[in-house]
């Protein structure tokens, strides 16, 4: 699992936006480089950044674990189709890119990354993007996941108690309607606590009082 790994290295302290720009630049560089030594050097450089960020070997291995199987399949296929040189370069490209991206995730706390992404989406305000609404939705997703898992488990247990051994597929429809009802109650509760009114006041509308 790839998560933020706390630390105080220069890479941890760098602005998330700067790290994203650097990641993009590395991506372009990886696409342009076509020699094996250059790609190997770049991979070594990214590994060195892991050392500077004082990330453990375990963090590095975990960063690569999701792509190990694809990389192995690609290596075998490329070796068979074009030769070992191209196979090596393909795998180096995948590893370098995934390592660089994982480094950004490992050194940036979730909340700072979300803020950076929301700020980057600022120009979308013209299309109705609303940072306050986005922050609320992001928080709700995290809250809803255990609620859903609980509801699902309850329905499964109830079915098991009634002696049903089929997978609880039939429970999926009722579960979704149940959670939709729950979210509507939640929306009303949020509205009753003045979320929209505050939102409008924050946007400097000031017409919220008149609207209510």
């Amino acid at each position: 699992m790839q998560r933020y790994s706390p630390g105080d290295s220069p890479i941890h302290r760098a602005a998330p936006g700067a790290k994203l720009v650097a990641l993009f630049a590395i991506g372009v560089l990886i696409a342009l480089l076509s020699s094996t030594p250059a790609l190997a050097a770049l991979s070594a450089l990214i590994m060195a950044l892991f050392l500077i960020a004082r990330l453990s070997v375990r963090d590095t291995a975990q960063a690569l674990s999701p792509v190990i199987l694809v990389a192995a399949a690609v290596f075998a296929l490329q070796w068979w189709l074009t030769g070992i040189g191209e196979a090596l370069r393909s795998v180096l490209r995948i590893f370098a890119l995934v390592l660089a991206a994982s480094l950004v995730t490992l050194t940036t706390p979730f909340s700072r990354m979300i803020d950076t992404l929301a700020a980057a989406a600022g120009p979308l305000a013209a299309f109705g993007f609303n940072p306050a609404r986005f922050g609320l939705a992001a928080a709700l997703v995290i809250r809803f996941i255990p609620v859903l898992m609980n509801d699902f488990r309850e329905i499964e247990m109830a079915r098991a108690a009634r002696g049903s051994r089929r997978p609880a597929l039939g429970a999926a429809g009722p579960l979704i309607i149940k959670t939709l009802r729950m979210t509507d109650t939640l929306s009303e509760a949020i509205l009753a606590r003045g979320f929209e009114t505050r939102e409008e006041a924050m946007r400097g509308g000031g017409r919220s009082d008149a609207a209510r």
């Binding site: 998560r3 999701p66 399949a73 490329q78 991206a101 809803f144 009722p174």
Partner: protein
């Protein structure tokens, strides 16, 4: 509307919860997961606009580092890896499914709902995912295509489930009809 934001968050969460169902790995590295079912449901229960936003929100949370993908994967690494294209197409797939579901909403039958979810849930994802897989890993397009076809049967099963749930929710708690009434 605030209610829309909460629904969007709910379907992003449903997609994440589906990732907690154990996955089957076929070896090529793109695991079989139930999460495409979440994409289909977001489009066919919420409609095009909210379905798109639910999947965009889901991907944003992944990008910010939450391990919401099957097998506890997440972070920017999966969004630049070889199977990134299959994920990045989710908002588009949800939007297309939503558009078609809205279009055929009155008189939606199981066959229609299945066709919408199967065609528009599978085609955009593969049309995006296969070229990206070929480009990032450098393997020929045909090889990427052949390797990906193994997932189609599983995706058809998801479309069948999605169609069933779509009709169930349409009868019990329709959200698409209400939206068209409001506008």
């Amino acid at each position: 509307m605030l209610r829309d934001s909460v629904h969007i968050a709910l379907f992003a969460a449903i997609t994440a919860a589906l990732g907690l169902i154990p996955k089957i790995d076929l070896g090529i590295g793109v695991p079989i997961t139930a999460q495409l079912l979440g994409v289909m449901l977001a489009g066919s229960v919420l409609g095009a606009r909210r379905g798109f936003l639910a999947m965009a929100l889901f991907l944003t949370l992944i990008a910010a580092g939450l391990p919401l993908l099957a097998g506890g994967r997440g972070g920017l690494g999966v969004l630049v890896g070889p199977s990134a294209g299959f994920l990045l197409a989710w908002p588009l797939a949800a939007a297309l499914i939503g558009l078609a579901t809205e279009r055929f909403w009155t008189g939606l039958t199981y066959a229609k709902a299945f066709a919408i979810n199967a065609l528009l849930g599978i085609l955009p994802v593969y049309a995006f995912g296969i070229p990206v897989l070929a480009a990032i890993s450098g393997i020929p397009l045909q090889a990427a295509l052949l390797g990906s076809l193994a997932f189609v049967p599983g995706d058809l099963v998801k479309a069948a489930i999605a169609a069933w749930i779509t009709l169930f929710v349409k009868r019990g708690y329709p959200l698409i009809g209400r939206e068209t009434m409001r506008e």
